[in-house]
Amino acid sequence: MLLYIHVPFCRSKCRYCAFVSRPLDMAEVEVYAAALPLEIRHFGKKLGRPKVETVYFGGGTPSLLPPWALSRLMPEINKHFDLHPAVEWTFEANPDSALDVEYLKILASYGVNRISLGVQSFSDAALTRLGRPHNAKTAMAAVNAVRQAGFVNLSLDFIWGLPNQREGAWLEDLKMAVRLRPEHLSCYGLTLEPGTPLAADAEAGGLELPTESEQGRMYIHGAEFLEEQGYLQYEISSFARMGFQSRHNSGYWEGRDYLGLGPGAVSTLSGVRHENPRDVREWAALAKTGRCGAGGVALTREERVREYVMLSLRTAKGLRLSIYRRLTGIDFLKENESLLTALRQKELIRLNNGHLRLTKNGFLVSNLILERLRY
């Protein structure tokens, strides 16, 4: 099982982020730190101290949790879950809140062994436009701090396709990133989420986004560069040095069970999906009364198949045709014969070893391919 813990606090809101968050409010952190142990305990008991292979603290900004809060939460995890001896335990951090080596050492002392830093860009102008509270210098300092605290598994997040960004600038970002020798990189194409200030700017015509073809080049050339540097692309947006693929994230794409705790967290256990209330107090009230986790919805077989196709095609491994056949009784290749032929001709897909895989160019238009495939 994968364990995900959601930390809903941010110091300030980024202009591209659609997540509902409010400025950090210590009273709310108090409520959170009191309720989360109850939820951990509840599920630990309910699931009979289940085996957990990976833990992931995501947000929001988990690194905003003060040490006193951590001291209440972290020991509960070990107590109520059976953590694998080689557990992958990730903690997301923003550069500006990960400068304190002592703080990072505290994390390590609880068992955290992987840090994911939201660097996003090395261009200060770009960071300002995104509303990020840090600059490039801070990001470098954070990387140093993480290493100094003894972490050997570090991931950096970047965004490409930013306003005013050209292909050259993006490749420059990647070069600098690679010089820092992180074990893992996530490179996300900028998504204009409806309702965000950035999307509003775009609608008002105030954004100079790279053209579609330039964005395509950023993606392909960026991925090629990273592979030359020893980072293998194992998913649409994920690159890792050998052996450092995120086991937690890969678990989602492989369709494994995951338990999500904290406000707004989603769980999928034995085909039943459940989502916690997003509001911190509403969620905390449920955790206190032990009514958390009620009201899940069982996925239909069709939904599970659709998710399997959608998620497996995100990965470099691709969709295993024999699994599809076992799930549906249908031959995926026959069902999509003429489309697959055309996609192969355009080198958008590859077929080998019983797997259907998207190529880099295929990843870039994966939504269109998923829309067209019959499954």
Partner: protein
Amino acid sequence: MDTSRIRNFSIIAHIDHGKSTLADRILEITGLINPRDMREQYLDRMDLERERGITIKAQTVRIPYKAADGKDYILNLIDTPGHVDFSYEVSRSLAACEGALLVVDATQGVEAQTLANVFLALDNDLEIIPVLNKIDLPSADPEAVKKEIEEAIGLPCGDAVSVSAKTGINVAAVLEQIIVKIPPPAGKAEAPLRALIVDSWYDSYQGVVVLFRVMEGTITHGQRIRMMYNNAEFEVIRLGAFSPGPKDFPSFGPGEAGFFCANIKTLTEARVGDTVTNAVNPATEPLPGFKEVKPMVFCGLYPVDAAEYEILKSALEKLRLNDAAFTYEPETSQALGFGFRCGFLGLLHMEIIQERLEREFGANLIATAPSVIYKVETLSGAIIPVDNPSKLPKTQEIAALYEPFARLEIHTPNEYVGGVFKLCEEKRGIQKDVRYLTATRVVITYELPFAEIVYDFFDRLKSSTRGYASLDYEIMDYRASDLVKLDILINGDPVDALAVIVHRENSYKFGRALALKLKRVIPRQLFEVIIQAAIGTKVIARERNSPIGKNVIAKCYGGDITRKRKLLEKQKEGKKRMKRMGNVELPQEAFLAALKATED
């Protein structure tokens, strides 16, 4: 019943000039309908009609009325369909009346179709009572409109009634004029039965319901009757009148109107305009004016999903039961698969049927651009009708091509005359007449190819006259034309459903416009789309939509999966309305692009 106490009338009006509202008020004032039970446009049975404000099927309603002279009368309101596509049906409804109310919007003036129907009424020797409606509106100018009616129709308007059908002002005066001015019906009760079929429709419980007006003789419950067009005989098993709901009557004499059921299975056995007579001792001559209506406009209708073919087929069968003017037969398109070639009286008729199919039968449709019937003279001298451009024989087999011409009458305020001329010239029109009804209102008559009307004529006329013009047309004859088939190729393959027949002179311009229009309506997609227009083997236009370069969900972790899956499901659902051709997906609009090719 005493014919001197019967008045049969219909209401002639342009769409939106208030016909249905006036009918509503009459039903209310005579007490036939309790105001509590009133709903707007009471006589229009079908949802579609109420929504679009058009009466498609005729209706008759029997209204008892105590007049100012203290006597009891029966008024039969014989309502008519109100659109140019249905002028034959209108003429039959009018033939069943002795008089008509001419309702004109006092804020608008006379429109082309109104005028056409008034002339139909005059042909049938009807007494016409002018009624000026909407006088409650501040912009109403009844005096000017009266003058216009006098000048345009030559109808004295001294006694014209000014009303507001909406508020009910003066509607009572209209009823009195009906009694005083419209003559009672003539016709002998003892003569052999001759009843005019005004309309008929199919009812799943009673079979065909026939609306009729007795011209002579008597029709009785249980009587054996004969349809004079095909000599089929039936027994009247139900006889009645709508008043406003159906009420049974034992018999009807001359001048009366009502409905009967006689175990009739199909509408073709009870055609509008046919004469009903006795089976025993029948009349020798049918009533004049019968015509077999023929569809003039054709289009292909295809299910978007081939699996829905049977649903579409049974939906068409059901529609045909209720609409003798509509025809369909199976057809196969390389591009669209199995479907039907459907024939309609005109464009409105076509739109109504398409809408009804989608709405009542839930069939997801692709409709191809409408076509008229061309006549092809082959080298061997045979004449072949062609209702589908893709079926046109090869150029080397054609000796001559003929297309239907229509006589078109356009009413417009004088400031738009220039625009109307320009449009008609562009549409290959031949000017026949320009007549000033008043100093500011003009009637323009053109002869032009019917195909040009079927294309975007209505919309173009509307935009070049800011909606102030109205038009009426009738098909005249076939004339030789220098026509060519324009093929459309998508990624190199001709798409039969996109082929059009155009005049050679316009073909290059049209081909370029159509290719450009297709480029705009076919969305960019996963694969490149190349659109070519060709005449014979010669490509005359080429457009290209490059493939989409980026469409990817950047992040998809545990909390995102449901949302992303639903997004994808929604997108896939949206694609179901697209027709896939090879690797290209074509939206419904692509098949109608020919209609809008020259609009901008």
